[in-house]
Symmetry: C2
Subunit: 539 residues, 2 copies
């Protein structure tokens, strides 16, 4: 719905600003004495004054758009309020009032302000066992990697589903841990990270058997979410998300079956990548529903996610680029209204930052998603996931009464007696939705809210947890069911609470999807919070 | 032309902000999730979030509007960029995007930022004799006042036209000073200030016989203008203006015949008051053109101007309030385009701050001023002023060849041979324009640029000086010819250069005119610049 030329103009304006292209900047500001540019405490009035100012200042600090709020009160008139992230960690705001003239969109008024980087809060660590199942001494490495390579110095939190030689897999369930034997081989995906120089800083918690999206764990407690205090991290990659958000790790390696990387990424304000199904080896990783299981990553710094993602992909093939970004009113409408608005601002920032056109699905062949279609793929996904989860862990659940919490047990048991015919029908439904999605993705990469809302409060009732999970599954299960890769960008804000924007690319386009990060993110983005690290502060 | 309801809405919004009236503030921001309020580095999205924020913050710092830039790109849509002055000396910016809905104007997007008070620059004093003809020892008092009363502690710079017991009057002309004898009585206007507690800190320079508007003086040099470095202070009250602008005095007492307070007020960013002709006693003050001569004031702090002005008026009668503010396209058009735009922003700030309606003269009975009308009153004023100036000082000029500079001498000589019939005709023209103005002022107080532009550069050519004077006289001579009072508000900015907004009230409405200051100015506004004051820093 947003005027395409307006987004294009905003993109070209950002390019001109980055390049300090004075002639172009002069062009984007409307001619005449009425044009106003306000910054800090004073306003410049008139095109000439503004131009003179720019010629004197010698360029603006590099900034990256994170949210662009576009309002178009009348045809040919628009206001954009852009929130930016600066390389120095500070944040910036830019309001522009645009008018469409004969020669195109022009800025008639602008207001710029900024804030320095917020002081990095030192966060009191929560109960350590809620985040970590096993940790290196004094916050140092539990297992050292090669120490050299692309990931040298990167501290990895490993979800407690992934084999690490000499360590057991706990899967968030104490009874499972008791019965586990130490792994004799590190999972290949994790091995690749260690070979590239990363260290394992600890084995971090997960929802029981990864079969939840909310990050609660009745046995170990719920990890603290420093990005949304008093709220859950989401899950099931809860421990790695908590560890990365607090700065105790740089990278989380975990699984995503139904959203288990995308959801904590959304709730904790982290970059998340779910690869194309099968693109990253899941050997040595405890399964949940093999048709959907993937091994992927979480990071606070986009550059870390990019480097680690490229390691997991191995030698990249072609780096695919999207023709456009797609937006679906139906999918946006699955989120809470404030979340939909917040994610839309993040999407607009992505469009302006990359210069990619923003198209509405309704205008493409095939048209908008229907509500029945969404319900169908969600139900089908649930059916197949539950059947496969029961196949993977049903016996353990049967043999160990009370080993998993009642809600998770109930979830497993929905898959116990599934008629194989129903499972086949569900797989057929998922194939259809995958075909439909693949056809759509030929027009551009599809964007949608990563979650239906921000992180729920820790004291939510069981019914509220279930509702939060149920409202998010329709959003996450589209990519899970189709096996396509997803990049989660942590740019949305509902108040101070993060919510993610998911970008879905065609199957196999992981390298291109990760490459988006090079176009939107500053190098050297700092952590938002720092946990005390006794082992490091002693040096 | 600006939508009256919009200005009213902006006024009521400011009132609500001042009173921290949360319900009213909630009303002014548009309902719904799309409303954005950005401040510092982040944006709040949605009416609810914005409302919650306001409820938490407990009020905003008191601010006063100085310039409001209104742009109305389409009917029912407007943007206001407001520059504000805070009581703590800091400055603020507020951009608001307005939409007219069924219920009235509402804010759909806002952006707020601020800057702390600029560090007070310590200005190297220029050649002392360019500003001061006589000064107290070590920057202290030259003559002490009563020391108690409304003006206790106020340091007054006295224009070198005003009698001070024991001191001579120099009138900017060394040959005049040589012939002068010490006054035996202090002029009543100055006496009133001293009685109210003020001290005379020095006798400050003037243009030769006050017969210029530019502040140049061939004998003593041109005082430095710290508000517009490298430019003139304007005149003829040049020394007091320079002294007040630099913080070496709190108050300037001077004369205004053709704009000699309003012009330096405009060029130096000072509040200026020219009283109703005859309202303040001119006894003991060297005349220039008695039909127009007034004694008035300059100050950096509006509160100082207000207190001192009330002293000069004596016991006030009724405090008249304007029904509206009037704007004339003809008079605005006499200023340079950038100055007209700047003064319009100051006028809009005045309208929003006071809540007074802003009416265009063209819409009132009598209609817009015509160009011939302006030319007529300017020419008539020049004729009468020159004739009276010659009557006052022609003999001195004749008897002291070379005592005044050629440009000033030429100006005097234009009055030498004036036919009394022409003078009478000119007086008749001025009476007509005074009647016309009086009729207009019944509808509201007339506003116009105080000068045609900001201060000229010090290295301007004689022709440029003459042009600057000639372009400003049509603006200043309207009030001079009609004898009505003028308040100069130093709020316009052309780049960093100040330009003043003049407000003309009906004859005798001085108390009401000064009372405007109570509605628009913070108490305790600090000086912009500080001259070294050895006498004070020693304590």
């Amino acid at each position: 719905m947003t005027d395409a030329e307006l987004l294009r103009a905003a993109h070209e304006y950002e390019n001109a600003l980055r390049d300090n292209d004075l002639a172009a900047l002069d062009t984007w500001f409307a001619d005449g004495l009425a044009t106003v540019r306000a910054e800090g405490g004073t306003a410049l009035v008139g095109h000439g004054e503004i131009s003179d100012y720019r010629a004197r200042r010698g360029g603006a600090p590099v900034r990256h758009l994170r949210r662009v709020h576009v309002r178009e009160p009348a045809p040919g008139h628009a206001v954009t309020v852009s929130e930016t992230e600066r390389v120095d960690g500070g944040s910036g705001l830019q309001t522009q009032v645009w008018e469409r003239r004969g020669e195109g969109w022009r800025i008639i008024a602008a207001h710029v302000s900024g804030a320095p980087a917020a002081p990095v809060p030192t966060v009191a660590p929560g109960p350590d066992r809620a985040t970590w199942r096993e940790r290196g001494p004094d916050g140092g490495a539990l297992v050292r990697g090669s120490g050299h390579g692309e990931l040298a110095g990167v501290r990895v939190a490993v979800k407690d589903l992934v084999d690490l030689t000499g360590h057991r897999v706990g899967a968030g369930v104490p009874a499972h841990l008791e019965r586990a034997v130490p792994a004799t081989r590190t999972a290949p995906a994790l091995r690749a990270l260690l070979d590239a120089g990363a260290d394992v800083t600890g084995i971090a918690q997960t929802d029981e058997f990864a079969f939840s999206l909310m990050g609660t764990n009745a046995h170990y407690g719920t990890p603290a979410n420093v990005a949304a205090p008093g709220r859950t991290t989401g899950g099931s990659t809860s421990g790695p998300a908590a560890a990365v958000a607090v700065g105790a790790a740089d990278l989380g390696i975990g699984t995503d079956t139904a959203g288990s990387l995308r959801v904590p990424g959304s709730f904790c304000g982290l970059y998340a990548w779910r690869p194309t199904h099968g693109a990253v080896d899941v050997e040595g990783v405890l399964p949940l529903a093999p048709s959907f299981d993937t091994v992927g990553l979480l990071a606070a710094e986009p550059a870390v996610l990019l480097r680690a993602g490229r390691i997991l992909l191995g030698v990249p093939g072609t780096v695919e680029r999207p023709r456009a970004l797609l937006r679906s009113a139906t999918l946006s409408g699955l989120a809470e209204p404030a979340t939909a608005v917040a994610v839309d601002a993040a999407l607009t920032a992505l469009a302006v930052q990359t210069g990619l056109p923003l198209l509405d699905v309704v205008d493409l062949p095939g048209g908008e998603f229907g509500t029945e279609e969404v319900q169908a793929w969600t139900a089908a996904f649930r059916t197949v996931q539950a059947a496969e989860a029961w196949a993977a862990h049903g016996r353990f659940v049967e043999e160990n009464p009370g080993a998993v919490s009642p809600a998770v047990e109930a979830r497993f048991r929905t898959g116990a007696g599934t008629d194989p015919v129903d499972v086949d029908l569900a797989r057929e439904t998922l194939r259809r939705s995958a075909s439909r999605l693949a056809a759509l993705l030929a027009h551009g990469w599809l964007t949608l809210p990563s979650t239906a809302g921000p992180a729920p409060l820790l004291d939510a009732s069981p019914a509220q947890w279930e509702a939060a999970r149920a409202s998010t599954l329709p959003l996450t299960s589209l990519a899970s069911g189709a096996g396509v890769p997803v990049l989660g960008l942590p740019w949305g804000r509902v108040g101070e609470l993060p919510v993610g924007l998911s970008v879905l690319a065609p199957a196999g386009a992981d390298a291109g999807l990760l490459d988006l990060l090079t176009r939107v993110a500053p190098e050297g983005r700092r952590h938002r919070a720092t946990e005390e690290r006794p082992g490091q502060s002693a040096t």
